[in-house]
Symmetry: C2
Subunit: 482 residues, 2 copies
């Protein structure tokens, strides 16, 4: 083994793999190619930077290039890997100037992430229209939202930032109204962020409730939480077009179910985030197997169908704990964990990347929401289960204890086996972290009867005698028995 | 089956059993004997009543006698069951006036609870000295602590309350200093409560750290939390005597390890809670099998060794999820759950009472602490394991997110199998509910490697990418591999 471990992409999965590899195999070389300037930033923190909860963009960086260097990782920024030759075991690398070179590898990790999709419209070239997909966009949004007199360029205090773009946005008059196009979790977080910055915010969502993967109970609850803070939520309302030549003027929303003609709603700003898609193009033409969502299909050790080629993070599949099948649910922990496991495996200590349960959490002001597993009945049926579901509303603390809050818990189980398939939790008092109990039960293949008998902590300030999860299990068990 | 289901004790276990039995077998009779006046009160809420977090004692009642009656339960208060004849299948019942009668049963549930132990000293007859073991004591403490001018008798707004005792305590001059004897979880809660009422509080604990079953990390953290709010904590300091004839004047603490002579510390009040003991005396002479702590030994359906005699709640054992052996860890959920299961079983639907994991949580001002499983190395060795333990301190949220707080997690695993045996969590941000993840993993017999691969929720406001539990599992795994 004379050639290095080559990693494409210097974010969560790529740098986790390179770091772990160096600790496992300190005498071997690892080269990380990153096409851009940014490395290892906390994507999930961007809405909170926009909201102003985070003062400095540099707080969102997990690792600086200097720290990467100290770990003995050969990081090459501004170098895009444009082709992979799995037979010759080498990649083609291109600089911004167009210079090309070849880099042989012993093992290759593709950690190219995902990209935001903007649906039918293009936000490029229209001032005031954004996708919140990278740190440059976060800096630009922060600048655009600020009053030109009051803008603090020091908030975007990272040398990699697109300064020109941020400064240009800072000169524009501050927006008073905003449309958030798409009510997924980033949409919800952006709506909260812009409302915190004083904007009059509308969220437009194509389907009947926000946060589709979280189910209707959670979606409705989060909608109420946003509305309570002055955000207007339009469900069943797809945005058809962004209106405006140089600067955004309005969004055009489709005739709703009643067949009304499209309506123009004037806005000073639009943030579009209707989905993301895996960056798998690099392996086009190699014959690599793809999985759900077009993500690169990997096995339980993160190996693709190409020899010595691994994939991890938002561009790759992961095995779902309930179905046992490859799934594509791009999230931060999955990327970090898979990267770390692949780094260990390539370094000589074979380590499974672990299953995913689709565990996710989000907040809307004081309301916390989380989901796990197979929550959607159709998805459960498709996976061969006979889903039965119950939703309860139960207190988060003993009723007499101040601060007890109504907590919604939905549980889904298989009618034939009683196995827990999925669940959600929403509420204002420690609701989100309760999902971890369900995630653990799901990964342990527990039945709802076993969940009902769990010895969960009871103490009046934190939980009633019967934790909301136990109440939900009790009710669902009754339904399964009935 | 012509005789009723007889239940001894009208608290959590007894009334849960009677209620469930009536729902399962609506045509059969259930008689509940309660020697006192109080039924179904939230013992765990008493410190919060004393603290003033709860305004009215009636808020602590789960069920009123009227509600019990509406459920079709024949509740007989002021009736003490003084003997059981398991051969004849009948109990002897005595009124306060000393009248005796016999009551035959088809099935019998002993749910007699536990009693506080006060160690070497007796608090009876000394004004200002209390045990916080029942609602009358809570009312008396609340009255004693109040300024005589300001006492509000309406706080103890339950007809069952010992009005004379409360009123007598209300007339005494308000205490300024208090000793809490015993630093278990009730001791910690009482210390917080009395400090909230403005008293200068000292906690005396026999061993080296508070909350012995929670381990040293938690005990030390809780000690710091109490001290930060002005409570003085004396560890390694057993109280030898309460000093005072009619009213408490001081506590006498032993010569500490250095052999110094006993010291008198003047106090205006003492609350003693050095432990509790199961009320199993009722079955003395029946030959019933007893288990750890002298509790009534039961099987997985709550059956004692006597035919058709069940036991549940603080007087009974429960099977420990880690050791598989009978254990005595009296807690509220255990009592409710076992009572409910026995009610179903006696009613015709055999239902296991469920294992316990020893899950417990407590708070000291803003600090939350929780524990589960086999945490004490000696207990783990005794149960045949080779315990290995690691403690980490990790952030409760992404580091850049406001409110992230240092969270201590201790995990204990078996060196040979990697199985998770126990754990604790302490911190100020959503720490206690995180124990439920560990309780679930323990009941699922997970290894630490499996815990490390759990797909727990990551969202910056609630958890960093690597939840503190995952960080602890990662570190402990490293130790197990090393």
């Amino acid at each position: 083994m004379t050639d290095p471990f080559v990693v494409v992409g210097a974010d969560a999965a790529g740098l986790s793999a390179a770091s772990k590899f160096r600790r496992e195999a300190s005498d071997r070389e690892v080269v990380v190619f990153e096409k851009g300037r940014w490395i290892s930033y906390a994507y999930c923190g961007m809405p909170y930077f926009v909201a102003g909860y985070v003062d400095r963009m540099s707080d969102l960086l997990s690792l600086s290039p200097g720290e990467v260097d100290e770990r003995g990782i050969d990081l090459r920024r501004g170098r895009e890997v444009v082709a992979v030759d799995p037979d010759a075991k080498r990649v083609t690398v291109e600089t911004a100037a167009g210079d090309r070179s070849e880099q042989p590898y012993d093992d290759l990790l593709v950690a190219t992430g995902a990209r935001a999709t903007t649906g039918p419209f293009d936000v490029r070239g229209v001032d005031g229209a954004f996708t919140l997909h990278d740190m440059d966009a976060a800096a630009a949004i922060d600048a655009y939202v600020a009053d030109p007199e009051a803008y603090d360029p020091e908030r975007a205090d990272v040398s990699a930032v697109d300064r020109e773009r941020a400064d240009r946005n800072a000169t524009m008059s501050a927006p008073e109204t905003a449309a958030v196009v798409g009510g997924g979790y980033v949409g919800v977080e952006v709506a909260e962020a812009l409302a915190e910055r004083g904007l009059d915010v509308r969220v437009f969502h194509r389907s009947g409730h926000l946060l589709s993967p979280f189910g209707e109970t959670v979606g409705t609850r989060v909608e109420e939480a946003l509305e309570a803070e002055g955000v207007t939520v339009h469900t069943d309302t797809p945005v058809e077009a962004l209106v405006g030549d140089d600067r955004i003027e309005a969004v055009e929303v489709g005739g709703e179910t009643d067949g009304a003609s499209p309506e123009r709603i004037p806005v000073d700003m639009a943030v579009v985030g209707v989905g993301i898609r895996p960056n798998a193009d690099l392996l086009d033409g190699t014959g690599v197997d793809l999985g759900p969502g077009g993500a690169i299909r990997v096995d339980d050790h993160g190996r693709t169908s190409l020899p010595d080629v691994y994939a991890a993070g938002d561009c790759a599949t992961a095995r779902h704990a309930v179905t046992g099948e490859p799934d594509w649910t791009p999230l931060g922990l999955t990327a970090n964990r898979a990267g770390r496991a692949i780094g260990a495996t390539v370094g000589g200590d074979p380590t499974p990347v672990g299953d995913i349960a689709g565990t996710a959490a989000v907040k809307a002001f004081d309301t916390e929401a989380a989901r796990v597993g197979l929550l959607d009945p159709e998805a459960a049926v498709e996976a061969g289960f006979a889903p039965v579901s119950e939703t309860v509303t139960a207190g988060s603390r003993s009723g007499y204890y101040p601060g007890a809050a109504e907590t919604d818990v939905t549980l889904v189980a298989d009618r034939d086996t009683g196995r827990l398939l999925g669940g959600s939790v929403a509420g204002t008092d420690r609701a989100a972290v309760r999902i971890d109990t369900l995630a653990t039960a799901i990964e342990a293949d527990m039945t709802v009867a076993e969940v009902e008998r769990l010895d969960l902590a009871y103490a009046p300030p934190f939980s009633p005698v019967w934790d909301p999860i136990l109440v939900a299990a009790k009710v669902l068990n009754g339904t399964l028995d009935g």
